[in-house]
Amino acid sequence: QKEVEQDPGPLSVPEGAIVSLNCTYSNSAFQYFMWYRQYSRKGPELLMYTYSSGNKEDGRFTAQVDKSSKYISLFIRDSQPSDSATYLCASLTQGGSEKLVFGKGTKLTVNP
């Protein structure tokens, strides 16, 4: 079983929709959780990160981690065509090596 599982989609939504992107992980030692956004023909860029369980909000984006169920979520409110990209979740252990473990990515298209 891969350490971080992510539904690859693709996901297509109308502009203004609420988007929910999800990952599950298997390694209980993961403490740091990140979401990266990757536009076509570009490298991934860090969108949000959280430590341990809880929510973190940044504008239209909310990252949520539930360690009891090993579930990572990213919510996008009022989605825009400019949000169309591939979203990758990633996890990291605390005190371990600095190798991020990535999900495979979910391709999102927001239609005007």
């Binding site: 990140m34 023909r41 490298g43 991934p44 990515g105």
Partner: protein
Amino acid sequence: DVKVTQSSRYLVKRTGEKVFLECVQDMDHENMFWYRQDPGLGLRLIYFSYDVKMKEKGDIPEGYSVSREKKERFSLILESASTNQTSMYLCASTPGGRNLYGYTFGSGTRLTVV
């Protein structure tokens, strides 16, 4: 802003050629990484380095080697390119120490081996 620069955006090479992919970062980062990204497989770690002249194998090192002679530069070498190495290659760096999430990626090199 930290910049991670990969020398080529697109590269076409022949089977059996020795291929060098170059990556340079300009913020004195300790750690550097090479990934390849393929549809349906996601990002896979090839090699990484925590310091000059140090290297460690990632998940798929076969057919690749790396060189880190200077802190800012991390090179990926395909000793004898094969068609199954056609992929998008991404370089990343992080400051190291307690900064556990500051991965900065380059824009990638799309390599085609024919």
